[in-house]
């Protein structure tokens, strides 16, 4: 009998639930003995499940440099996420991972000026990279973060953005919301347009995450500014069951998003059949 079985999960305990927006909560998860379930790299994912409800893949939003716990920012949009949104502190779930190819933070990204662009819940996977870069601040150049959502109330991690990211030296945070709102004196407009207005220099490495429509137009906007697809990274999301490249669900072309992704360079996506 082989004792290792990748599909058998560990037990995790929800130790904190933070309400980010009307439909996003951030869950802190630890093993029952108070440790991190496993180590990960920025951009990797984990399978969370509630027995009897189902299992689903989520990006790990906390940075690997956080030695105390893991966090998952989860939008309520399906069976598993609805159940999680009802869960209270102390609730146990199951967890397995880490899965997927991370962002190349220790190779390609080193020494680069970084441009993070996120829309809505798309900040969840980027937060891991952003906080990783902040932790190893001297290893990266200037950091720009463009983050937009439908309204002020839909900005995930708002407190961390305002209290920490905005106060860091060498980090410029550019927030935007789709429509004008009382109490908001920041930028109003869609992310792709805002990126073009800000007009970034093309010597940066860009990382994009958000709804498919936002990715499509932002990618176009960056190319209009003169960026090459080889400078732009994104992270994909597809239906997954196993997480280890066997169940077949996240297969696109010869790639499996769970193990060959979820992080892809945009020119690599061009090599895939147009199904995403």
């Amino acid at each position: 009998m082989n004792n290792q079985e990748p599909l058998i999960p560990k037990v995790g305990t929800i130790t904190d639930v933070r309400i980010d927006t009307p439909d996003v909560k951030t869950f802190r998860v630890l093993t029952p003995d108070g440790k991190k379930a496993f180590d990960h790299k920025p951009g990797q994912c984990a399978m969370l499940s509630i027995p009897g409800v189902g299992e689903a893949m989520f990006s790990i939003t906390s940075s690997p440099t956080n030695t105390e716990y893991m966090e998952f920012s989860i939008k309520k949009c399906g069976c598993v996420t609805e159940w999680l949104h009802q869960a209270e502190v102390g609730q146990q779930i199951t967890i397995r991972g880490p899965y997927g190819k991370p962002f190349p933070v220790d190779t390609v990204f080193k020494g680069q000026d970084m441009l993070f662009i996120a829309g809505g819940i798309g900040l969840a996977p980027l937060r891991s990279v952003i906080n990783y870069c902040r932790h190893y601040r001297d290893q990266y150049g200037k950091i720009d973060i463009v983050y937009g959502s439908r309204s002020k109330d839909d900005l995930v991690d708002y407190k961390e953005i305002i209290d920490e990211w905005c106060n860091d030296d060498g980090i410029n945070v550019h927030l935007t919301i789709d429509n004008p709102q009382e109490g908001w004196d920041g930028h109003v407009g869609f992310v792709p347009n805002y990126v073009k207005e800000l007009g970034f220099s093309t010597d940066k490495t860009a990382i994009l995450c958000g709804p498919p429509i936002m990715i499509k137009f932002t990618l176009q906007g960056l190319q209009d500014l003169g960026f090459e697809k080889t400078q732009i990274y994104t992270t994909m999301e597809l239906k997954m069951k196993c997480g280890v490249g066997k169940c077949g669900r996240c297969n696109i072309g010869a790639k499996y998003v769970c193990k060959d992704g979820p992080v892809f360079r945009c020119d690599e996506i061009d090599e895939l059949p147009d199904e995403y």
């Binding site: 009998m1 058998i8 027995p51 949009c77 146990q92 196993c242 297969n251 010869a254 147009d274 199904e275």
Partner: protein, 341 residues
């Protein structure tokens, strides 16, 4: 090489069964299927079983784990059982090859222990195809139905079954049942193998070629307008997937038994509308897209990732079972141009 007279097959099966459970194709109302041998059971004369032999290693449904929940607490129960040695008699060349294709998926890192535990414990006794069918096209995938491989290879000729060990496991197996077999020379078996190869050359699909397919051909075929007509009548029933020896997509689901939750795995099909459906949408909304995925995977994507090995063994089950008579041969002929000589 050893032999047994066809008349004394039952004695051979009994000798095997004394050592380990033995499974073999047995005729039933709707064709042949693998059954555990019991006294009185006879080996089916059908060329192949309705469902492939993948069930032995990748069963249609299996419980993987259980959960005990109490209040907010969860306990994960590892319910995997030790698998003892077992023998499968009568595996055809196509199904034997399919195991090596499934191995590429389930034994690649990280290893699927459910699959491996069964695979490690199986003795595969293949039988050469003396009477290949019109639906057979294993030759296109480099398979020799006269020499089907496995741990022990059998050829039926002149009222005897000739057995030859092909692996160490096969040698040990034959040693165990030596008393039920007798020494033989290879002449009769080799003569039969030559005849089988002649018969295969005369099959209607003997000239089917895979030359036009393989890794790196995504761009060539993905946007072909031919997918539309090929998939037009597809019902999305998934029969092709279920009878296919190499289809390995699966679903994982939970079932509340009332006394706890079981998490099980079951066969799934990329032909089904909800295969890629998730909370925020579906990447393959039409049957054309789902149909294309299945064949692109077998003819392009799988070879691209697996040293140019195709995800098909030419068993012909999909030709026999598809309710609208669509199948991989039609797809290959249509996409690849006219039938190539």
């Amino acid at each position: 090489m050893r032999k047994i007279s066809l008349d004394s097959l039952a004695a051979f099966f009994e000798a095997v069964s004394a050592n380990m459970p033995l499974y073999l194709p047995v005729d039933g109302k709707e064709g042949a299927s693998y059954k555990k041998w019991e006294p009185g059971a006879t080996y089916s004369k059908a060329l192949n079983t309705n469902k492939s032999a993948k069930d032995f290693f990748f069963p249609q449904v299996e419980n993987m784990m259980a959960f005990k929940t109490e209040g907010k607490n969860i306990e994960v129960l590892d319910i995997r059982e030790d698998v003892g040695p077992f023998a499968i008699f009568g595996v055809r060349a196509c199904d034997a090859k399919s195991f090596s294709i499934l191995d590429r998926v389930f034994l690649s890192d990280p290893v699927d222990s459910f699959y491996k535990n069964r695979r490690d414990n199986a003795v595969i006794i293949t039988v050469a195809c003396s009477r290949p069918l019109e639906t057979c096209f294993c030759k296109a995938f480099g398979i020799d139905a006269a020499a089907p491989g496995g741990d022990v290879e059998c050829v039926m000729a002149e009222g005897n079954v000739y057995l030859e060990a092909k692996t160490e496991k096969g040698e040990a197996f034959l040693k165990q049942v030596e008393a039920a077999t007798e020494a033989a020379d290879a002449k009769a078996a080799e003569a039969e193998q030559a005849k089988i190869r002649e018969r295969i050359e005369k099959l209607p699909l003997a000239s089917l070629s895979t030359d036009r397919f393989g890794g790196g051909k995504t761009k060539e075929y993905f946007d072909s307008p031919l997918w539309e007509e090929l998939s037009a009548n597809c019902l999305g029933c998934g029969t092709c997937t279920f009878v296919c020896p190499t289809c390995q997509c699966y679903d994982i689901k939970d079932y509340n038994t009332g006394k706890g939750v079981q998490r099980f795995r079951c066969w799934d099909s990329c032909m089904y509308s909800d295969f890629t459906k998730m909370a925020h949408g579906n990447i393959r909304n039409s049957q054309k897209e789902r149909f294309r995925q299945r064949f692109m995977h077998k003819l392009v994507y799988f070879p691209e990732n697996n040293d140019e090995i195709f995800g098909c063994v030419g068993c012909g089950r999909c030709l026999a079972k598809c309710p609208i008579s669509m199948n991989i041969v039609k797809v290959m002929k249509t996409l690849g141009g006219a039938e190539r000589e």
